[in-house]
């Protein structure tokens, strides 16, 4: 049990706190890397990040990346991962890793899954007809073999907008499953288990869930069940409720968040860690991230645009390639996808770096305002962003007296 561990596999040291909002920047020391937070974690579902070399990820300042337990458990499978000595060695990645529990597939692959108190029964999506029983114990065992710095408890996930008794059941079951995960955990000195706050969009349920989870001996927390099509008003409010119910001195991870504005607001609300497939997925469709949103490079307006994607971006793509050339190769050449993946990851990494720096220099509120002004030059901020930021004392409207 984790209680007997003499050395914690996670030290969380807050470096600076925003004096206006709840934003903070910290060093999260993990067995494989000292991660600066707030941090964005690119997703390497099957043990690689879409055509990008580990060395490039290091150059891009990626400090922690995600692996997916469900997929890795099927291929290469736990036998191979065990023989390899874990995912770090298997994929040659020296920095920190986080694995999900496989629980998310309950939502994304629901038609293949059956949820019981014992666990989740999956049909393999690899077409081999195999069945996989994912119990809290089994998820923990696989994650112990994968050996990520941070493991996720198996949680009972619902579609975000669901209401009623099933949400209550899922919240309570999530707490029960946490205890089973902690009991099954074999490496409490080298790996962390993060519990996951559930409770749908119900404030009382979320608070209750967070309350129960904080009673367990864990080194950090995740907030789950969001970013699944709920109204933005419900999204930010649930994040705030959840974060405020969690202890300040431990990291808080909001799962499945990747849009720049969402990241800014979650940071303002006091969150520390984020992940999303969005930057690399959108790259495959020829879309490049910029402050103002996305450039869909296939669009004919870029055919003779001799500028880089972003003149201020230091990434290897922007140093060499123009929008015009990228326009001609996106969705045609696999290399174009790699070029956009690199840029899009660089974009996320730079955003997080700037957020961290602004918190250190006590300029975070102004940074948020400037950023939002770039995204919405007309000042037509969505109501939820105004409300969310106002809840942490950042007033978007005030900086636009002309309105």
């Amino acid at each position: 049990m984790a209680t007997t561990a003499s050395v914690k596999p996670l030290q969380f040291k807050i470096i600076a706190e925003c004096s206006t909002s709840n934003a903070r920047t910290s060093i999260m020391s993990l067995p494989h890397f000292n991660v600066e937070t707030p941090v964005f974690m690119p997703v390497g579902t099957k043990g690689s990040i879409k055509g990008v070399l580990n060395q490039q990820l290091e150059t891009l300042n990626c400090q922690i990346i995600l692996g997916n337990t469900y997929h890795l458990g099927i291929k290469p499978g736990i036998d191979v991962l065990q023989k390899a000595g874990g995912l770090h060695k298997f994929m040659g990645w020296k920095r920190a890793l986080l694995t999900d529990s496989g629980g998310f597939q309950m939502v994304s692959l629901l038609k293949f899954a059956e949820i019981k108190e014992e666990g989740v029964k999956f049909q393999s999506t690899y077409g081999d007809g195999a069945e996989l029983m994912l119990s809290p114990e089994h998820s923990t065992k696989i994650q112990n073999i994968i050996g990520a710095d941070i493991m996720m408890q198996l949680d009972d996930v619902n579609p975000t907008t669901l209401t009623g008794p099933r949400v209550v059941e899922a919240k309570d079951r999530t707490v029960r499953w946490l205890d089973r995960c902690l009991a099954a955990h074999e490496n409490p000195t080298t790996q962390n288990i993060f519990p996951i706050v559930q409770g749908g969009l119900d404030e009382t349920l979320r608070k209750d869930c967070a309350q129960q989870l904080t009673e367990r001996d864990v080194n950090g927390f995740a907030v789950g069940g969001l970013s699944g099509g709920e109204a933005k008003e419900d999204f930010w409010y649930s994040v705030m409720i959840s974060v405020n119910s969690l202890p300040k001195e431990k990291p808080r991870y909001i799962m499945g968040i990747g849009f720049a504005v969402d990241l800014l607001i979650c940071c303002a609300l006091g969150a520390d860690m984020f992940d999303c497939v969005f930057p690399t997925r959108t790259a495959r469709f020829g879309s490049a991230l910029v402050r103002q949103g996305q450039l869909y490079l296939k669009n004919s307006c870029y055919a003779t645009d001799g500028r880089p994607i972003d003149e201020d971006c230091p990434c290897s793509t922007c140093k060499r390639y123009t929008r015009s050339y990228l326009h001609h190769i996106v969705t045609m050449e696999p290399s174009a996808c790699h070029l956009l993946s690199v840029h899009n990851i660089a974009f996320q990494m730079r955003l997080m770096q700037e957020i961290r720096e602004s918190i250190k220099s006590q300029t975070f509120p102004q940074y948020v305002k400037d950023y939002m002004k770039d995204v919405y030059p007309e000042g037509n901020y969505p109501k939820w962003t105004v409300d969310a930021l106002r809840a942490v004392n950042i007033d978007l409207i005030d900086c636009n007296p002309g309105r």
Binding site: K46, G47, K50, V52, H71, G92, G306, S335, H338
Partner: protein, 445 residues
């Protein structure tokens, strides 16, 4: 651009040379024999400028198929980049525009005598000499192949007609080229055709040799790009012996396509200077890594399973020392029966049926690599071998992750550079016959 022959093989036609004095990048210099990087659409397939640097090599000439970039001509011209290489973000690399994609010939029926139908990204396009040279002027590459019709036929009359047109295309291209201010520093490459008709090959070579071009492409050697690897070396030799001697010795010669490493050596021994990277890419895309060694023969590397390969002929050596003419002749006899039947391996690797790797490659999708935590080649210094295992690449292939092709491209290109370096050393040593191929056992591929 200048080509200088720096060394000649004593007994054979093989030679060493240097390509230099590119007007756009005067400092660039390339030792030949070497190969160009296949860059469909202007980008080395699966790689980017950044990942290409992991191949650990000097600069290189990019070979860009015309149909993959003709669509960019307006963009290049309207940009302030001036040259194709700058436009594609590869300014340090000279660009050579070839007419056909060596990995996708996509031959179209030519409807008019003096037009060439090419399948571009917007469908079929008919190119007259005027239209083609105008496109080349817009693209501004450092080297290009002239417009010509390419057709594979066994009819002697048809071959004769094609050849006549080919010379006409050449002359028409050259007359426009000479008038062009933009192309005054651009190298022109003529295509030597003639199919499998050796006398036509010779005639074409003689005709092209008298024209003011900078280099020659030995074209139309294989009608199906996916069988190039298994083409019989006797045919290759016969064509070269009827072509190369008629070409001026101070100009460079190219062969394109995914030829086996053994045929590459044959080509080089017959005086070819430039190749492309079709083969390393072809292997990467079928989940294979180069594993062959091409080394100087000596006592210590004689292992029981080692196979010697000289001028395209397999010969099992019993003591690993001899490679004299006699044993080669014997090997030639043994192989003569099967020389006509192409070793057509199962090129598709669709799960159930196991692919039979060729001797120079390792098929990493084979189940035996599932838990093999060694590098592809233990002595290899490439990024892939320094950082990753066979098991990891096996996994990436089986879950169809794009990183598999990236890692295999890096290894295969690195290996191919080393192969060409060794070939140049062998020519320099003046004793290239003592260099042989070593292959892995078939159960270790």
């Amino acid at each position: 651009m200048k080509f200088t022959v720096t060394g000649k093989h004593v007994s054979q036609m093989g030679r060493l040379g240097i390509l230099s004095e590119f007007s756009r990048i005067p400092e660039a210099q390339f030792e030949t024999p070497t190969f160009m990087l296949y860059a469909r659409g202007g980008v080395v397939t699966h790689l980017t400028y950044e990942t290409l640097q992991q191949v650990n090599t000097d600069s290189c000439i990019l070979q860009i198929p015309f149909p993959s970039i003709s669509i960019m001509k307006d963009a290049v011209q309207q940009s302030n980049q001036q040259f194709l290489s700058n436009f594609i973000g590869m300014k340090e690399y000279p660009s050579y525009v070839c007419l056909h994609d060596p990995l996708n010939l996509a031959l179209q029926k030519n409807k008019r005598k003096m037009e060439v139908a090419l399948k571009g990204r917007r469908g079929n396009e008919n190119h007259t000499v005027e239209k083609f040279i105008s496109s080349i002027e817009s693209l501004a590459p450092d080297m290009y192949q002239v417009l010509t019709q390419l057709e594979f036929t066994n009819k002697p009359k048809r071959n004769q007609i094609i050849l006549g047109r080919s010379i006409q295309f050449l002359d028409n291209c050259l007359s426009l080229h000479k008038k062009s201010e933009v192309l005054k520093n651009t190298s022109v490459i003529a295509a030597i055709q003639g199919g499998s008709d050796l006398s036509l090959r010779k005639e074409c070579a003689v005709q092209c040799a008298s024209r003011d071009v900078h280099g020659f492409l030995i074209d139309g050697l294989c009608p199906e790009e996916d069988t190039t690897e298994d083409v019989d070396s006797d045919f290759v030799k016969a064509v070269l012996e009827n072509t190369v001697p008629h070409l001026p010795p101070d100009k460079y010669r190219l062969v394109q396509g995914s030829w086996s490493p053994m045929n590459i050596v044959t080509f080089i021994h017959h005086g070819i200077d430039l190749f492309d990277s079709s083969l390393p890419l072809t292997l990467a895309e079928r989940g294979c890594a180069f594993t062959f060694q091409y080394v100087k023969h000596s006592q210590e590397n004689s292992s029981p399973n080692h196979v010697s390969f000289t001028n395209g002929i397999h010969a099992h050596h019993t003591n690993g020392v001899d490679s004299d003419k006699h044993s080669i002749d014997q090997a030639e006899l043994i192989l003569s029966d099967s020389s006509d039947t192409k070793v057509k391996s199962n090129g598709k690797s669709d799960g159930d049926t196991l692919y039979t790797p060729r001797p120079y490659e390792m098929w990493l999708q084979h189940p035996r690599y599932e838990s093999d935590f060694t590098p592809v080649l233990s002595q290899c210094e490439c990024y892939t071998c320094r950082n990753h295992t066979r098991a990891y690449i096996h996994h990436l292939i089986s879950v169809k992750e794009m990183l598999a092709s990236v890692l295999l491209s890096i290894h295969n290109l690195h290996h191919y550079f080393k192969f060409f370096k060794t070939i140049r050393e062998s020519l320099l040593s003046g004793d290239s016959n003592s260099y042989t191929f070593h292959f892995r056992d078939s159960e270790d591929r």
